[in-house]
Symmetry: C2
């Protein structure tokens, strides 16, 4: 049987468009009660028994035979050796990517992550002090989805922010260590690493054990157990986000070679069967050409089955009335990756309000952004770009308000505070302000 990938064809002029579109987008992150229970038990156990519990779960789930938790620490020498064992092309590529990612995040820090203050007319100083987190944990998935690029994307912004210690955890099922992941940790400047994963690794980072230091925030993607554990420890530590399946939306005006668009849709679909690839285009004939390229290119793809399952199950090629309408629909989706595959991308960009990352013009394939353009590839999924942002330096910093009221300022602010505090029935608040007023 020939493998076929036929994303759902939709047209905005159809009466059933809204319903079909909504059904296609549907994805539920609802918590699974069984997973919740397992995770709650693991967290409680690690909180009580520390190292011992982490060791037991790791040996059991990852089929290891470690005697103590310290055995599972990755030494700096091991990270360095992994880097040095790579072919030169991979070493160079990792370093080139790291350089660009670092330089982008340095610009980000400069643009939005510096302390600021000013004095108002009565001499009162107001501002914010921006400081790095002391210690963060980054979760790196092991097994089939072990991505060294994710190590760079999590660790480098933390490093640029000035985080004191970056602790990496990465599960190694059956003891298999991914040398590229270890090498990326070396390049990115990870402080310490442990070959532990799952809810037990999240618990160790959140609560601390004799061997694993407690961190202030945990970032990085993981499976359903890791996601459930992160959600539960949120509050004890910070977390980045709960990631859903990856998505791409391509807005095409018909000027890009259709094989480029087909391959860009594939590059999302190859992640996993739940990944979502959508094309929006006002030119029906162009959509046919993209479908023809999908048919032509699919057989040669090593991950053809995953691509086909993703495109058949969740993909869509949507014919719109215009590029303007395509932009409107894109805003409803709030996609993780948004390619504006157009000869005039800057005409459409101002219309695009919600997206994790916007790739402008035909040469900007998502894959260039994923690896090495510089911006972060950890992006809000499942429509959460409506209210959240790419992982960035700001995720590894926090702000403290600064207020220094002068004696003159206290005379101006005091009466306002007194009136409002009394309105709220908080007499000590009022009295504290009143005490700072000059006795006349």
């Amino acid at each position: 049987m020939t493998l076929k990938a036929a994303p759902l064809r939709l047209s905005t002029t159809s009466a059933s468009f809204d319903a079909e579109f909504k059904a296609r987008l549907h994805w539920s992150a609802d918590a699974d009660a069984a997973i919740e229970k397992v995770v709650a038990d693991i967290l409680a156990d690690v909180q009580t028994r520390g190292d011992e519990a982490v060791l037991e779960y790791t040996n059991r789930f990852d089929k290891l035979d470690a005697k103590t938790l310290p055995e599972l620490e990755l030494t700096q020498a091991e990270l360095k050796a992994a880097f040095e064992s790579l072919p030169a092309a991979q070493r160079d590529a990792l370093e080139a990517a790291a350089r660009r990612v670092r330089s982008y995040h340095e610009a980000q820090k400069k643009a939005s992550g510096e302390s600021w203050s000013y004095r108002d007319t009565d001499g009162t100083l107001l501002g914010q002090k921006v400081t790095p987190l002391d210690r963060v944990g980054i979760y790196v998935p092991g097994g089939k989805a072990a991505y060294p690029s994710s190590v760079l994307m999590n660790a480098i912004p933390a490093h640029v922010a000035g985080v004191g210690e970056i602790i990496m955890v990465v599960p190694t099922p059956k003891g298999e260590k991914n040398q590229l992941v270890l090498a990326a940790a070396y390049v990115a400047g990870v402080t310490r690493g442990f070959t532990i994963g799952g809810a037990q690794a999240v618990a160790a980072l959140a609560y601390g054990t004799a061997t694993v230091p407690a961190v202030d925030k945990i970032t990085g993607p993981g499976n359903a157990y890791v996601a459930a554990a992160k959600r539960r420890v949120f509050g004890t530590v910070g977390i980045d986000m709960i990631a859903g399946p990856s998505e791409i939306l391509v807005l095409a005006d018909g000027t890009t070679p259709p094989e480029w668009v087909a391959m860009d849709l594939f590059s999302q679909a190859e992640h996993d069967e739940l990944a979502q690839s959508i094309l929006l285009c006002p030119d029906a004939a162009y959509i046919d050409r993209v479908q023809a390229e999908i048919d032509r290119l699919l057989p040669a793809m090593p991950r053809a089955e995953i691509i086909a399952a993703s495109l058949n199950g969740r993909g869509a090629l949507i014919h719109t009335k215009s590029m303007e309408e395509a932009c409107e629909i894109s805003n409803r989706i709030a996609p993780e990756h948004l390619e504006v595959s157009s000869s005039e991308p800057n005409r459409w960009e101002p219309l695009l309000r919600h997206a994790g990352a916007i790739f402008l013009g035909a040469f900007t394939s998502e894959s260039l952004g994923d690896y090495c353009a510089g911006p972060n590839h950890v992006l809000p999924t499942s429509g959460t770009a409506r209210f959240s942002s790419p992982l960035g330096v700001y995720d590894f910093q926090k702000r403290s308000s600064l207020i220094e009221v002068s004696e003159a300022g206290a005379q101006v602010l005091g009466p306002v505070a007194v009136t409002l505090a009394e309105g709220e029935g908080l007499q000590a608040h009022a009295e504290a302000a009143r005490m700072r007023l000059r006795k006349i």
Copy 2:
């Protein structure tokens, strides 16, 4: 019986200090299983039955007798009338506070909330576009802790960010509307308001109903049910934070009138019995003087019983070896409010790494900051200042990465992406980058 407030006396030179200090700080936000179940049911019910469910829960919990949900909408005319009904002093105070809060948040937006981009040497454009959220919900507690100042502190940063619609919900137990809260909503520019509260209000905002529009993010404090509901809808919408009891830490060098410090400790303690007030000071005689002022001032306070319960149960007066050590201990606490009550506050400020807001110098009482200095009074509690920030304009904005790779840039980035993608076994990613390379 005379009411007595005696915060625990500790000294860092005591052998048992660490244990006593840790015990005093302990506060657990652990989820209550019974509350979790009730909240899960309410959320599911509102998701299914919409308006009808919200109406039923509101009538039941707030003892109302509304026939339809639209009846519970607050009209703009009602908000305006509430404002106009206030005494002139309250109107002026609300407007003065709003003006200062707005001006501070405008500075914040300018300092860290603007879009930016640059071109690198190969012509590739990199940057971030900062955009406001479309629609946010702000939760305002009703009943005994109805604070108009919180309306300003939540709505104004949203407004400054450029949020399109600000939806306020505020429960009105037994139908009692707090006129100051309504007036604050008028001053702050709330778009629509509903007199609903609890988990049902959070659900209505997260999922939308026929009457209440779905929002992108929900901010604002609430009781345990509201907190549990916010935690559960996180992911469907954004949330700000899960607030614990309020805290103040005063770092004193002994130069501030001790009655000012005593009243500042009271102003936190009067919020509720779980609020925490801590003094750190290297001068034992000064600590005695503060305790004497506590004894002298307490009887006259209208909320003396709450203050005494809070100080006796959770307060502490800690004698430190030095101001430097006091700063170190403050960093371990990561307090919500941190007063540097010293004649040289700028000597100590650089040593303070973790705090929601830092109040510098004796004239900067926390109450001035709470109401009208300008910075936000919604601050991270329970040590979460280690990894989170005051509510701000940035909470009502999100970022989209911008990448525009030139043809020349694609030649530079392509080989790096190809190498890394192949290293990760993602051939479609590699192929998408390769297609953009010039055929030679």
